[in-house]
Amino acid sequence: MNTLTQSDSLLDKMRAVQVHFLDNSGLWLMFAGLAVMFLPTLWGLVVVSGLWVDDEHSHGPIILSISLWLLWKRWREVPDLSSFKPAPALAWGCFMAAAILYIPGRALDIIYFETGAFIWALAGIVLMTGGTGLLNKLKFPLIFMLFMVPLPNTLVGPLSSVMKLAVSAVTVNILAWFDLPVARNGVVIYLGQYQLLVADACAGMRTLFMLEALGILYLNLVHYPSKLRNIVLPILIVPISFTANVVRVIVLSLITYYWGNAAGQGFLHGFAGMVLFLAGLLLMFGADSLLRLFSQKWKDRKLHAS
């Protein structure tokens, strides 16, 4: 059974789609409804408002793809749907919640309502098919989808300006340690003859988001039983992404200082973005290794004690 469903040949994949989805007409009927409801939303996000193509929210489609892939993966692991009991009442509750978010969201253009409704609708379909048992199996991909909901500017704005100020302050302090001619006024960094502005994008709310999402995904995929790791790592990601942003601003400052403005704004600007992300990932895995070490030590000590 396992070898068959997990096998990678194209034929097997198609057969899996057939067995798990196409043969289940009740299921794909509901998915057709879902498509009617949310394909226009997707169209809006990608084409009309272009929010998902935008720099600030471009993680949305990535999160959606990962979630759908995970959903499919977990769904295939379900051996027998007949062992689950559908829960229509709960499902209708979810559909109602989806409608309450979706209708004003779409009519009045409140995109986070509209996108959020998708998760409720999907949860409703899961409940209608396999009840709470199935929902329990699929809860991670559904919760993970929360990361794709674009956050309101009124929430992100103030957070990001606090981040910006802190990032510039820390950067200037570090550069001053190395005796560089540096000063700061708000979010403007003066370095030698150059004036650098720490912009919104540099504050890296998006990096924080992406790292947080990847961290949680990583924890879920490795399935490590340690509570310590599962709780502490997501919390650690906040300072980690802050540090990564400081690294990025420092790298950009130094590039500008030594190679001029053109270099700092050109190709190397994008390069610094990659550095930021890599720095974040490395720090995350580093923190995870440390946590693993700690929890191992902890276990050893417990064993010795008993």
Partner: protein
Amino acid sequence: MQAEMRFAVSQKPNIHHWLVVFFMAACFAFASWLTPHLTWFEHIGSPQFEEITPKQFGDWVEITEAAGSRIVDPEQQYAINNLYTQTVSRIYEQRASGRRIMLSLAYGDNQTFSKQLHRPEACYSSQGFKIENLYEDKIQAISRPIVVNRMKATIGSRLEYVTYWIRIGDGIISGPATALNIARLQMSLKGYITDGLLFRVSEVGDDEALSNALQDQFIDDFLLALTPAQQAMMVGLK
């Protein structure tokens, strides 16, 4: 083994499944029916701000060369995002006193999620200005009260007093940041996709009371030079 797989999942559509499809399609149809299709931009006569902004009015005249004056360009940073559909940046001089006022209009014909106006306090501070003393004030212009925001922006030794308002659809918004969205929703309920105008004047100077008085004078003179329809494009109908 294959037989086992075939047995794995199978649910014939029942009444619930059909209801779900119907319900979802109904949600979409209802939302589409509620969605406004008229634009406030067209409702108020498709304003072209560059054209309707007079180059000369009252005792004011536009000057094109202004050494040492730097207008904080609200467009600069977000230009790529197409945040605004129109912007106007002018510097005017009062002939009697020689004092200069900077005028900046930023207009977006659709105030949806990603294309909302950015408030000057955010623009200024993201360009390195320090914002002090942001408060709401009420001025009289064209014999009607207008709620404005005032603030003091400093960068280095430069001091700038700023007065601005934001018009969303038919009126000027005041209060917290959420006011913009609430105004947008109200316009949607009236059946319009709303526009938004940021009207901002400022002076580089060091006396707050004097600067505010001059700005109020400028605003009054400016609005008086416009037709009623053009005034509505600037301050709304309310």
